[in-house]
Symmetry: none
Subunit: 196 residues, 4 copies
Amino acid sequence: MPTKLARTKPPEARRADLMNAAQRLFLRRGVAATSIEQITEAAGVAKGTFYLYFDTKEAIRAALGERFAQGLLAVIEAAIANVPAADWPGKLDAWARGAVAAYLDAIRLHDVLFYEAHPPNRRGATDNVIVDHLTSLLRAGEAAGAWAVPDARVTALFLFSGLHGVIDAAQVAGNRVDRRALSARVARLCFRAVIG
Amino acid sequence: MPTKLARTKPPEARRADLMNAAQRLFLRRGVAATSIEQITEAAGVAKGTFYLYFDTKEAIRAALGERFAQGLLAVIEAAIANVPAADWPGKLDAWARGAVAAYLDAIRLHDVLFYEAHPPNRRGATDNVIVDHLTSLLRAGEAAGAWAVPDARVTALFLFSGLHGVIDAAQVAGNRVDRRALSARVARLCFRAVIG
Amino acid sequence: MPTKLARTKPPEARRADLMNAAQRLFLRRGVAATSIEQITEAAGVAKGTFYLYFDTKEAIRAALGERFAQGLLAVIEAAIANVPAADWPGKLDAWARGAVAAYLDAIRLHDVLFYEAHPPNRRGATDNVIVDHLTSLLRAGEAAGAWAVPDARVTALFLFSGLHGVIDAAQVAGNRVDRRALSARVARLCFRAVIG
Amino acid sequence: MPTKLARTKPPEARRADLMNAAQRLFLRRGVAATSIEQITEAAGVAKGTFYLYFDTKEAIRAALGERFAQGLLAVIEAAIANVPAADWPGKLDAWARGAVAAYLDAIRLHDVLFYEAHPPNRRGATDNVIVDHLTSLLRAGEAAGAWAVPDARVTALFLFSGLHGVIDAAQVAGNRVDRRALSARVARLCFRAVIG
DNA sequence: AATGAATGAGCGTTCATTCAT
DNA sequence: CATGAATGAACGCTCATTCAT
């Protein structure tokens, strides 16, 4: 007979309690490793209550994703809003800075929510090899005077991730990919980013 | 007493059988959804045999990741090998094209091995929202004559993924991140990729 | 604040609403597979209201059984009522025809209410095996000129079910059964039904 | 570390252990009310072991039904086997007595396995009303000298159950039922069983 | 080296029932 | 009378891992 008060809460509040508890746990241990019971316990309700608000574990993950996306977009748009309408480079710059800021605060949440990517640096395993290789290439080119790259590793990471993302998306789209065109586009983007 | 022959195989062969079977299954249904028993069955050995070669399910995933990385690097290095030593832009170009080619063939394996990624809408709705937003920005800037971007969506994807990758890495590194510096670096890379 | 009208109904009406809703659902999906919530939803009341009228899920099942029995008896009695008082064979005939008619209309409800019977192959394979066996016996006897049985399968079914029912009842009564007597009685009934 | 011996048993033995344990429990509390864990506990194995031998709770119920049917048929056939080939009434008599004997020993198992019919006399609720009615009719007819029925209640039970079984089967068959014909057949069977 | 029977913790989900409003 | 949010015990099933043979 503890909490005699507020056995009933406004639905949005209960829902939010559950989402907050889930987010905390998902961040700490990943989605798969978090059980419904842990979520309800952290939210201070009974197990069955979870199913009053969400049909499924997946449903709460999706709701969290939605909420995450809203916040993110708001931040980025706010960053651009201050730039004069005609200043396009300024807008691009604001976009980049806004996005960096927003993701820096939430990247782990993003990754946990959209890839199940807990163990830090798991993704690194392979990618590091490739990124290391590109980093060396960039440094060598710089040493040879071919270009100037202030931070070879960050650049290599950026190019590799960009390339990877483009390919992922192409794959997901599923329609036949025009390999030549894709190759050329990606090569051009790398080229310009490095050579300017 | 049937198959009296070859009950015993060279350890490396057994190990490879298991890895090949696992890779096939991981690709088909994901890592979590593949059971040890399915792997051993596909490899034609008993369940217990698995544990003679790998300590853990995670261990075989890691071994597969290792093997994957080796193959990838080989392909990319081969692509560069043909470029004259002094032609740095050519090397960068070769790197990009080699990497695109290599990942196009294996992106699904990569993602399944390093994120638990089940194809459609792997990247959450989130990313799409942000990428859409940047795509619009790029198109608007182009319409205003601020820059020329052949394929705004691919470019947006590239920049977003690059940015995301850089932040992920920064986070994983864990040490205090210099937000200003990171921001500036990323903004510059975006800037050059777009403005040239 | 909508439906301010008729939030309250005469208790018998509410009770009937619930029973009707429950009967419909029990018929469609069985008793066990029907939840209280489905019943209240179909009856247009809140979950808790159910417990104002019935103590238990079992209680509503029992009430439905009661109601079912009343209706049945009325039909059968009506069928007999038209037969002249002195015509006993006629009464027996009327009983049989009345009962067949009444049950044909409601057998599914009966079975769902009293056994948890989901239609196809309710009676297990078992019964079929035994009935098949008796059917063969009846046919063989007829071929040998020992008796005449218009429809061997229906007869076999009838005898088997009759026998089964008698034994079930004996078992339920629980008191020590006089096996010899029971055996003799059943054998005699089978005998007369077949040999006349 | 108790039972160091016989951690592994011949599969048929384990399977039989599980079936025996399940049968005991099903008889005691019904199928639905028996949990897998109770079965495995009673069989002296771990929960997971159950699924090495049966895919599903329903699967063990079915296996038990199969086993039950085999035994039953054997008993009845044995009863008939002793009757001279030409003695058809004797065969019918033997069938009836054999079936009664066999089912007397196992009726509860049969009912639990094929209908979920635990609470004794649940089935009675309705059926009793109808059977009582027929019993009265039979007694009244006898009092009037219309027929002679040694045990009116058993006869009424027999006729009612026979009728019920025939209708159930007709319903399950599902094809359009010829109500007139069915009625006539059943009436005739009742008639002969009573009037001789 | 190889087997595969056995284990048992763990999980997502359901639902009859209660009770504060 | 009526509501419906909250409860929490219960259950079927999965599967990585162990170990006697």
